[in-house]
Amino acid sequence: MAEKLKIASYWAADCGGCDVAILDTHEKFLDIVQAADIVFMPIAVDIKEKDVEAFPDGYIDVCFFHGAIRNSENEHMAKLLRRKSKVMVAFGSCAMMGGIPGLANFKDREGILSRVYFESPSTDNPDKVLPQTETQVREGVLTLPAFYEEVKTLADVVDVDYFMPGCPPASHQIWNVFQAIVAGNLPPKGSIVGASTKSVCEECPRIKENKAIKRFYRVHEIIPDPERCLLEQGIPCMGPATRGGCGAACPVANQPCRGCYGPLDGVVDHGAKYISALASVIDANTPEEAAKILDQIADPAGMLYWFGLPASLLRRVRK
């Protein structure tokens, strides 16, 4: 029998849902561990950073790195795992595009620290103490990772071989990708794996008729018709501008697509593309009327970059 594959999974700045998605392959997970040894996966295996450092370079066959790069520790681990891995996969929306943590790029470092350590209602910090990367105590020096000015994607700090979108990646897609890895059947470097090349709308079973939007609704303001296209009913659904592969999981569950699979091939900016799509279906021919309809979108910038602000052209707020 050939030597077993060595795989790793690591989380940086994210919620850990990507690891849960791997476990959500259910009994297929047993097939995965049959074919591969998990050499590093903090949620499941007790292997420490120093053990990884002791691996020879290129020891890990495939590393599924999930989470964005928020601080110096995330970057350090990304660089360490890059060195130790033959194939590096940016796994999930955070590693690929910044994900939900990437929304922090609507604020800067100073604003975030000030909110968290001085201003939030539950904070009691009379001495205005902020976390320091080094603190001298009697026993020696304590260290903390440095908090960056902006959230970055994995590809901003290391060379990435494959990108697998999703928040989290759909479990059936994880299984597909794993099978491709075992079979040695991987696409060219830089490819997006575990996703479709068509939009979410292609997979969405809802009936699409005529899009002419007079009013936008937030999800709690309307009980949508379960059969009809959500966008046609005035719920901003990012399906038209978002890569499929998830099986239109959210629209099927009566929720609009939020864009976690990122943009389609050839699109330079996911949000800009969705502006194009959305503006085309607003039924207003005067600027006044159009502005009134657009004002009904609760968070116009956040909605566009729900999962991909650090990978967008604008990347972050400017002061």
């Binding site: 609507f106 902006e150 970055k152 901003d156 700090v157 699109v267 330079v268 900016d269 949000g271 800009a272 593309k273 502006i275 194009s276 959305l278 503006a279 085309s280 607003i282 207003a284 021919n285 600027p287 159009a290 502005a291 657009l294 116009p300 910038a301 566009l304 052209l313 604008l314 990347r315 972050r316 707020v317 400017r318 002061k319």
Partner: protein
């Protein structure tokens, strides 16, 4: 440095009206600042907001989008789409801390050479007053993962 600032402006002009308007300004020998670099597109409705963001990221201080007057679009509705995209794009720029005056939408017909010259003159002055776009300066370092 500030005194020698010459704004770089990208102009997306529609083939049927505004580009012809710019042409008329030229053949009429009207004077307007040389800061605008014109890109001809088939319709203002072809201007995807990502074109504007990319221009701003790669060094433009301002972006002008010009198309046919409402009701005059060669493709019937392209300019209405441009208008709605522009309104959303301006909202987006404000949220990112980019002055929304850096992007401007105008309707300029093929007969309005003088108006084209006037719009470019005004817009160049607006951008000169705003100064260099912060967006391109910081974007240059952000792109390298700094």
């Amino acid at each position: 440095m500030e005194q020698s600032f010459e704004p770089k402006i990208i102009g997306f002009l529609c083939n049927w009206c505004s580009y012809a308007g710019a042409d008329l300004a030229g053949v009429s020998r009207l004077q307007y600042p040389p800061n605008i670099r014109i890109i001809r597109v088939m319709c203002s409705g072809r201007v995807d907001p990502s074109f504007v963001l990319k221009a701003l990221k790669e060094g433009a201080d301002g972006v002008l989008i010009a198309g046919c007057h409402p009701g005059d679009c060669h493709y019937e509705s392209g300019n209405y789409k441009a208008m709605r995209r522009y309104l959303y794009l301006k909202k987006l720029l404000k949220e990112f801390g980019v002055e929304d005056e850096r992007v401007r939408l105008e309707w300029i017909s093929a007969a309005e050479g003088a108006r084209f010259a006037q719009v470019v003159t005004e817009f160049t002055e607006t951008i000169r007053r705003l100064g260099p776009s912060k967006f391109k300066e910081k974007a240059a370092s952000a792109g390298k993962g700094a």
